[in-house]
Symmetry: D2
């Protein structure tokens, strides 16, 4: 069980955010929080701190532990309030201009903003503002937000932020830092997570509780869907500027994205994954000798499966930890060996066995195919692949990097077709109702008022998708391609 | 005679610009042009190209030859029009956000801007626009210009640019690229240079003619003070949107900044420097055996001096070319040896001689002092220092990096004091009238209508200095400090 | 379960070796083999290949995946035979001259040598040869071996190698490549591992079977203690030039060093570790709620313990995989948080629980102390630490990096003292007889003829220790200190 | 006039050496000395220092100013005696194992050796020693020397060094450091330079006087051909172990290799080059308007030519100093512009003029051709190329990197052919007698007892060339190719 799959064939969370008000080591705390949130974005990270006089920013490509925790960096970020951001970005967008937080000068002073999630009307908003003569210098949604803040007629920062956020469509957890306040906002459906904690006299916002744990902060509560939390010298103020709607939290956070040691919306992620594995065993048990996880993504579900099925849990696959991020693309003579550079079969646990292989999801199916071949070569007599989520057949527009729909294996094949392609003796996914049962919803998915955002499984998108409708205004923008 | 002094004790030109319209290799040409203009800024460089569909940008810290001329970089910058920029920046500002060209999306499409020079009302303009709710994300003057373009009510790009530039105060040569045009503008006094050339069917803008020579382009003419030159499919159009004023070209471009092989405002820089040296010999001749230049800045003036004085010109100082830009700051035991790492005395040419040592200027005087000591140690019997410009006693606000006034040797000491500090037997500067005579103004400097900007010698600044007046509005901005 | 603990408080294997004869992709295969052996040495790696005409060498600091698997590197190492080496080296020795393989020209042609292990009479042999006028240019044992080969009077390479190796004392598995042969030798006690495999028509030597698996080679057998295996155009020849002695294989290879998916001396490492964990549960069971491994070193033993004890196995500690090898040493404000950068507690699995915490060994005890504190803070009610090996109280002289004896916790404290320092409710180590029982020796350790080298637990060193005796001749050498 | 041509079409000196005895800052002084000698080798540099107890070594690829002058490097090289080396190496040999100084342990203690020059019987000596069972680990001549020292039967270091050097053939200036002494030796013909200096109470050896000047040391004298100079606690001892022969100093050191500010064998290099230029004007004067040097190699000769010819000396070519050593190979679209990246024509000085273009030598002729084309394009009416040396028609075997003979322009064409290829109106080389006259030999070259080594012009090699004779024993070695 670990936090990084080094696996190209996984969906990826695109961002994590952190904020702290009222602590003299705010940049150091933010660095630690971002380090704990690194699984939510490995490509770049940034911090903005304010020391009562100046804003200080440091943004860098690379991982937090390689860039932000150096003594000289921390020293250049003094102040008692700070926000931070980790980012994974899709190819072509990986330029410094897009690394967050974004900062801008306003009439009321500076403001920095960082966001987790994705807007579904950002291009439309942007196009409209460009027509008004407003300048855009990046391609991020976040720049749209700060422009909306800038053009608001409100007298107060909270009023301006409310004006701005009221125009947004999509999924977003946002943190902001001004001269006086750190603010956190979660979208009305609460699709992406955001939690509130306390460290001594200071308050902390973070995407997940693991970022509170690393600094020794106490978890207070989840920020609620549609809530705006304002941290300043007076403590914490909770505002509800937006109409209340039923929560649609992203169920994939439980299945794969969140760290196993985080608590999300009142549930422990690790034990939820074990429950999901147990439900999977109940739904699609099979005669077998051992249960083997695909490391590391399938580990807790495999443990739950093994327990529920009464089968031995065995580590049949060893990951090579020396496949780090600077790993050179191997020469042709080596490359065809593929997955074996990253995983090795543990013959001891596989030879002659009927194997239940557990993973959390199948995206393109490329890695699964290689792993199945590998464990067959190591002597596995049968391979039964069990997936602890329903088939992933739809793209996500809410801040998760998914391939185009036509690349999703489940969008192109039925179960039998997938099983044949992957080369397993049997294949089963968890049902959508089974997933909800494992989440404590005994009746399964509520067809009228679904309890989660499960659009990647069901195609039921809970928000408008303005930018993705035909004839969207955004397409006329002359966006810049930059490669720095 | 060379183009890089590697000398910390020199004034520095802060920028160079280049633009081309109508050539399929526009990015490659721009790279070459920027390479030729590298003496105008070594810290960062950038190019924006437009291929009829997309704008493409590449900006990087470092020198053109180390960053922009790689095949993969050129390949990512397709298009038949491009602009480029080289930049030297003062400490603290050296962040990627400030590297030019700047790009922004406008209602009429994208626009990229690059500037040589400095505005003297940028902070005031910026503060006023921030109050209007406009967003600023960098600290460059150039962002002020693109905001002014964005907020103009004009229907045409030329109209918008005219509106914007009409509000600027200071010295600026600007190039812009839109979807249709490449535009060049020079400020009404023509303080900074800008030239127009032709390469086959395409037109070229550049800070100096050496950037035309490197691509084999023909020099057509200087862009005139206050002129706007528009390059597009119809050829070259010249606009004069601003009221005509008498030119005040920067005389220091002749003395030191421009490359010796450039032609500036109708004069060859190399032969002008020789004329200045000859005038210096006439003004302050002295009995001596040899004339020795401080390499490389004093070379042409020393040749002119030697010729006029009838003295042998000798290379008494050798530069070490292995003191490159990655040269590690030497250990303490080595550092006290100072200048000898960069220069060596040529005893052959100095021993027992009365030496006239010629340099172009004295800023802080630190290097001069070390060089004089070095050539005395090599046996020079007398050292007479001759400077081919008047004493530099005032800061420049027009795009030249000058130290604070109190650090200028000439602002703190008279000639005798300077001679004593530097340790020479005699010291003489060229007079301000002598300088004008060498420039072909037989009557010297016209007190009523000066022929050049010579503010660094005279303190006579030809423009308003809004931002530098007491109580300047700009001081209330909460500018961000970033260190990337 | 993984192959790299990123843990400073572990003993470290110092080297791994690989060799192949008769395959046209010998360098690519060697790269893969070394990648699989990376856990045996992360600091540097090297390959020598021979193509029938020239020897080709590439050696580099860093990990195989970052250095050796680049297409251009593989392309520069043509040939049908090759040997390779991975190396971990102690501080001060990390210079390129010491990176293996070593190569030298002999009268019979070139020879390259790579070694796993450590000689205990290398300094004495070296000193004697220096007196004879022989030149030494590195500080490695391996250079001693090639000098012994060079000075042998034998006519054949095998004779020379036999002469050389007959003079060695210590633990060594060696591979050599000449113009005609690849040779593998294991020391008479077989302290370090070496296995023989076959890939199609070619033969392969490797420190562990995981290096055969990665290239799809078939495992043939362990090279026997004292055996010399000669691979050439005639196939495999087995020579036994040395007197036969009872094997004393390093038992710590089973406990920690070897990869879990390797088979060593006929046993699977993974299942052996589970057996050891089960024996530990039998010897020192305790009333508890959950069994939690210290990842990753304690994982299989914890699984065996949980099974034997009938307790749930839970992942109570999450490793952060983003603590990679370029991780910057954190700033002071962050550093005091220590272990939490690398591990996080999983509160779900710990809160309110009586925890059996399982690890493979304790060296200095620093990491254990931090982990225990961390899981107590996460709510663990009791912590019972169980170690799947006897106390490590003696240094290793056979190729394992151990701290000085006084730094070993078990050399300074008894069990109670250790428990108090680490802060656990109880502490137990596996007994030496229990270890042997888990290895299948029902009667425990044979006092007369011990079955393994267990000197790090018992102080019973199976070879002479010439260089470490008082008055050792080696101390008079004027060894060079180099820092490249 | 400068010290680095950045020109691929020049012969290159391959090495420089430095040594100091009796100064507490010996490593810092050696770093400075090597920096001054950087023109003799830019690829790698190394220092060995001895502090009375340990030898310390630092060797690195790259230039001295980028590697050796860092505070931490100097700090790791304590001691009162040191030697150093700069190296240029031909392609394929550029590996760390070959970087000097070489160090080895001997029965009498450590010894480090650094060499300038080249042996012509190194392969033969090496092959003979390999047959005796001696180990060679590099491909340098220097390793041959230390083996000869090791196998000598003499009781003293001086005796051993004498034995070793007595067997060498070729050109060599060598410095050595042992526990007690620093030794300098020059070959019996004195082909390569070596000078002796004093700094306070310490003595210094260096390839050129410029390395004495940089540390403020006093020049004492040239080490004589065949002399061995021993520096130790007793001062300087001069030994003459070898039979005396007439000096044959390398005349090309005067023409191009040595730094202009050095004094070599009693002559100032700068003024010698001017004399050579004057002699060239006398031999091959031509009606012209200006004399223009090819920078920087032709500068002093052009000055001498102009003076003798009574013509104006003009800087018609500007070098671009931003073509540094990390300059990226330009993209295809740029590359065809060739020489203009490095040089620019100064139209001011060329347009409409009859130009005498002066350079020191022609090797392949590639650069000359481009420069001539460039100055014609800048308006030169006639171009008369004058070369301040005879045609370079033979390879050098004495430590100068020369192309294969068939690549030398003068080996393939007569003067008319060369003039046509280069595209000049006339071409003249200095005659061999003219060269000797310029060196003060009024009668020209002495046919019986030549005063210099001028083999590259005449093919008259003053030593045996054992390794280059047919059937040379060295060819049977199985040398290793390494690419680190």
């Amino acid at each position: 069980m670990a936090t990084n799959p080094f696996d190209d064939d996984k969906l990826r969370e695109e961002c994590g955010v952190f904020g702290v008000f009222g602590h003299e080591d705010s940049a150091a705390l933010t660095t630690l929080g971002l380090h704990a949130l690194q699984h939510r974005g490995q490509e770049a990270a940034g911090i903005v701190a304010y020391d009562g006089e100046h804003f200080h920013m440091h943004r860098a490509k690379g991982q937090v532990g390689d860039t932000l925790n150096a003594p000289d960096v921390i020293a250049r970020l003094p102040g008692h309030m700070a926000i931070g951001h980790v980012r994974y970005s899709t190819s072509g967008d990986s330029i410094m201009r897009n690394v967050q937080p974004l900062f801008a000068d306003f009439a009321f002073g500076g403001l920095a903003v960082a966001q987790n999630g994705n807007l579904t009307n950002a291009r439309a908003l942007r196009a409209a503002m460009v027509r008004e003569g407003r300048l855009f210098q990046s391609t991020t949604d976040t720049e749209v937000i700060i422009h909306l803040v800038a053009k608001s007629g409100s007298d107060t920062l909270v009023g301006r932020v409310t004006d701005a956020i009221g125009q947004l469509e999509g999924a977003y957890s946002i943190v902001l830092v001004s001269r006086k306040k750190v603010i956190g906002v979660r979208d009305p459906l609460g699709v992406r997570p955001l939690v509130l904690g306390r460290l001594d006299a200071s308050f902390v916002l973070a995407s997940e509780t693991c970022a509170l744990d690393i600094i020794g902060a106490e978890f207070l509560r989840d920020v609620e869907p549609g809530e705006m939390v304002v941290l300043d010298g007076d403590g914490v103020e909770s505002l509800r500027p937006f109409s209340r709607r039923r929560s649609r939290f992203c169920v994939f956070e439980y299945i794969y994205f969140a760290r196993p040691d985080s608590r999300v919306e009142g549930r422990g992620v690790y034990s939820t994954r074990k429950s999901i594995g147990a439900e999977l065993a109940r739904e699609s048990g099979v005669a077998a000798d051992v249960v083997v996880p695909v490391p590391d993504s399938g580990v807790p579900a495999a443990m739950g499966y093994a327990e529920a099925a009464g089968l031995p849990y065995e580590l049949g696959i060893v990951r090579n930890h020396y496949v780090g991020r600077t790993f050179i693309e191997p020469a042709d003579q080596i490359r065809h060996l593929g997955v074996r550079l990253k995983h090795s079969p543990n013959r001891d646990a596989l030879d002659g066995k009927r194997v239940v292989l557990v993973d959390d999801s199948i995206v393109r199916g490329t890695t699964s195919t290689k792993i199945v071949e590998m464990i067959r070569n190591a002597g596995a007599r049968e391979v039964h692949l069990r997936i602890s989520s329903p088939p992933t057949a739809h793209s996500c527009f809410y801040g998760i990097d998914t391939p185009e729909r036509e690349q999703l294996l489940a969008a192109r094949h039925d179960i039998e077709g997938m099983a044949a392609l992957i080369g397993v003796d049997s294949l089963a996914f968890l049902s959508i109702d089974g997933l909800h049962r494992a989440m404590g919803e005994a009746a399964g998915r509520n067809a009228i008022e679904p309890q989660f955002c499960d659009a990647c499984f069901t195609g039921d998108y809970p928000t408008g998708l303005t930018d993705f409708e035909e004839g969207s205004i955004g397409s006329e923008l002359s966006l810049l391609e930059e490669d720095v």
